[in-house]
């Protein structure tokens, strides 16, 4: 297949392909982070994760409409405002859901699966009733569209770079919160031993609520960012949910580092294989490999060593 091309062409394509892999990696990390926090730290399987993302996307759409009609001069910067609002909206809804639904189910982890799945259906229909069944088009400021010409033949999509930078930033913030801050210590204490954590004066209910809110809020930011690369409709969240779970489960549920490593492995494998074979085949092979590895290592790539 490469016979007809010059070395320069091939070099350019491989460079762009490398970037494609990195962009996919960033996308995977971004969508999996929120779920990893909720699933890893609380053991709650949040099937409505995709819908929290789409809430962020709709908030972005509303913000862009608002800026277009009221503050057209500031339109080029609206995206940053939108991401903050998306975080707040999804996070607030997450805390509400935790308070109304999830906290009653902590002792029955499998039931959270069913409850959050139901929640995802409710949210989808709510979006459909409020925003209409059709997809909405989110308009981007001019500077975020198109690609950056690195050399004559190498072009890198600007929105890809944006997602990479965003992912890096959010990952660092989350890592700091979870591993360096006082609140992160409380979260980990509750995960390891809820009763003891309560006994030393940690308000475990509050910790739970904020953890869930943080996970959902990050999902909102992810949804906001994905308006650049994907669709915004009532059921768009479903497009991401399978890959998200794949990344989290493959990485090992309780480990943020595992999530990142797994996102890297899956994205590189997927994007390389997609280049050499058809999209469906690449997906099949990726899934088969992951299933194979999980059969040998059911705990995922990285697991916390805990005494059982």
């Amino acid at each position: 297949m490469f016979g007809d091309y010059s070395i320069g062409d091939l070099g350019a394509i491989f460079a762009m392909q490398g970037f494609a892999g990195l962009i996919l990696f960033s996308v995977y990390v971004l969508m999996a982070l929120g779920l990893a926090i909720i699933f890893g730290q609380m053991g709650v399987i949040n099937m409505a994760h995709g819908e929290f993302m789409i809430l962020g996307a709709y908030v972005t759409w509303l913000t862009s409409n608002f800026f277009q009609s009221h503050l057209p001069s500031l339109f080029s910067g609206y995206f940053f405002v939108a991401m903050v609002l998306a975080f707040i909206a999804s996070g607030a809804l997450g805390m509400l859901v935790e308070w109304g639904l999830i906290r009653h189910l902590y002792k029955r982890p499998l039931d959270t699966l069913l409850a959050t799945w139901g929640l995802s259906l409710i949210l989808q229909q709510a979006y459909r009733s409020v925003f209409g069944a059709r997809e909405v088009g989110v308009e981007l400021p001019q500077w975020m569209m198109g690609s950056k010409q690195v050399t004559d033949t190498i072009e890198v999509p600007i929105n890809g770079i944006f997602v990479m930078v965003l992912t890096l930033g959010i990952t660092m913030v989350v890592a700091y919160i979870m591993y360096k801050s006082r609140w992160g210590r409380q979260v980990r204490a509750v995960v390891q031993n809820r009763v003891m954590a309560g006994a030393v004066g940690i308000n475990t209910e509050k910790v739970d609520r904020y953890t869930f809110g943080l996970g959902c809020g990050i999902a909102g930011i992810a949804g906001s960012a994905f308006t650049m690369i994907g669709s915004t409709g009532p059921t768009s969240g479903q497009l991401y949910i399978v890959d998200t779970f794949l990344v989290v489960v493959f990485g090992g549920a309780a480990s943020l580092f595992g999530t990142i490593a797994s996102a890297f492995t899956i994205s590189q494998a997927q994007s390389t294989m997609e280049f050499f074979m058809s999209g469906s085949m690449a997906k099949v092979l990726t899934l088969l490999t992951i299933v194979g590895i999980l059969m040998i290592r059911p705990q995922g790539l990285f697991a916390l060593k805990v005494r059982k």
Binding site: A20, E135, E155, M228, I229, S231, G233
Partner: protein, 419 residues
């Protein structure tokens, strides 16, 4: 319009007298409307359909919830508009159309279940419905078993024909061949990159396209790719397209993937005003989600565009917007759905009966001159003769028509040499 009262009686007194005389013996027995010259129900409905002296019931069966609601909403709106307009003209054989709407919920067994309910419990005279091929395939055995009549609006892959279905959209050859001929001639397209979602419609369509490109046009297919439904990452395939530099990208990507595909093409620096892209899966509806700025310059091959410049269409667009709001857009399938109730009305009036066994053969040769897409005619194989048109997507989300076939294309659901 034969059922409307003719203004033949000039003097009001005479009219009153006549009416009174006619009504005297029967006034306590008959409902008021039997003064209209509508034929007796017993004569035009011998199989127990839901037809009364004043009303006839039809079913609307689309998804208003679930994934497919995105696409099917427009069809529901078009069908309701058509029914409204027909009623305003006096209905069908003097009977107003009443509709029962059921929700297929984007779930194929539900479609079959609801179709059965409409036919068996509600005894509807016809069903306007279905959208995806999967839902049609699920409903088809029900229609045939209980002898119903389905008006199906979507362009589809062909390879089907039934006494109980009228296909108001294009079958594959009607949509594909003319577009490929056009692009090969005017854009000098020699090499094609085929890319589609991975299910029956894109795969069958691409098979036909490949045969046509290689066999008739003497071009070559430089790549053929399918992606799972809902796929959102197209960067790798876009790099492959950049590497192979095809003259034409030929796309049949659907649903949420569609949006991702065009956004990422744009982001990767592929300029659609320079790189020819021809799609068979993007209508005005889809552009709403994709965004005009992401797809402007691409070509689509359809039979209808909202921007068609003819008096029928102007009237249709105005009526549609009046009923459903100024912001709604009308895509190819929405227009095809609008044809359903009209074709049914004309068929019933031609057959002089609501009986399925009479309207199935009467369908052949039905002509609809007021169709927004222009004149259409029903073929004996229950598909429509229609034109193919190529439109170029504009920034405002509309298409500019750049080509249309001079003649109507004969529907050929089982094309020889393309299977």
């Amino acid at each position: 319009m034969s059922d409307e009262k003719k203004p033949g009686l000039h003097s009001p007194l005479r009219r009153k007298l006549l009416m009174g005389m006619a009504a005297l013996p029967a006034i306590s027995l008959l409902p008021r409307t039997s003064f209209a010259q509508a034929p007796a129900t017993s004569a035009i409905n011998t199989t127990g359909l839901a037809v009364t002296d004043t009303e006839v019931t039809v079913g609307i069966l689309h998804s208003v919830t679930g994934t497919m609601a995105i696409s099917e909403t427009g069809s529901v709106q078009a069908e309701k508009l058509a029914i409204d307009q027909i009623n305003a003209m006096g209905g069908v054989l003097g009977r107003k159309i009443k509709f029962i709407q059921e929700d297929g919920a984007s779930d194929w067994p539900t479609f079959a279940e609801k179709a059965k309910k409409l036919l068996v419990n509600d005894k509807v005279a016809a069903i306007m419905g279905c959208w995806t091929s999967a839902s049609r395939k699920a409903v088809l055995p029900v229609m045939e078993q209980y002898n119903g009549m389905l008006y199906y609006p979507t362009f589809y892959e062909g390879l089907e024909q039934s006494k109980n279905v009228i296909y108001t959209g294009q079958e594959a050859t009607q949509q594909i061949l003319a577009g490929l001929d056009w692009v090969s001639k005017t854009k000098n397209g020699k090499s094609f990159y085929l890319i589609g979602s991975d299910y029956i419609w894109p795969r069958t369509s691409m098979k036909i396209a490949r045969k046509h490109i290689e066999g008739k046009l003497g071009g070559k297919v430089s790549g053929e790719e399918y992606f799972p439904l809902g796929h959102t990452q197209f960067n790798s395939v876009i790099n492959k397209i950049k590497l192979t530099k095809p003259d034409v990208i030929y796309a049949a990507v659907v649903g949420g993937s569609n949006v991702a595909f065009y956004k990422q093409l744009k982001a990767a620096g592929i300029d659609l005003s320079k790189q020819t892209l021809l799609t068979i899966s993007v209508t005005e509806d889809e552009i709403d989600g994709i965004g005009g700025e992401n797809i402007a310059g691409a070509y689509a091959c359809m039979k209808y565009f909202q921007s068609l410049d003819n008096p029928n269409n102007k009237e249709f667009v105005a009526a549609f917007k009046k009923m459903w709001g100024e912001k709604t857009v009308i895509g190819d399938v929405t227009q095809a759905a609008y044809l359903g109730p009209w074709l049914w009305k004309m068929t019933v009036e031609k057959a002089g009966s609501f009986d399925i066994d009479k309207i199935a053969p009467a369908s052949a040769g039905i002509e609809f001159t007021k169709a927004p897409e222009g004149y259409v005619k029903v073929h004996p194989n229950h598909h429509l003769w229609s034109k193919a048109r190529v439109g170029q997507a504009q920034l405002d989300g509309q298409f500019k028509v750049v080509y249309e076939t001079p003649e109507l294309i004969e529907p050929d659901p089982f094309p020889k040499g393309y299977q």
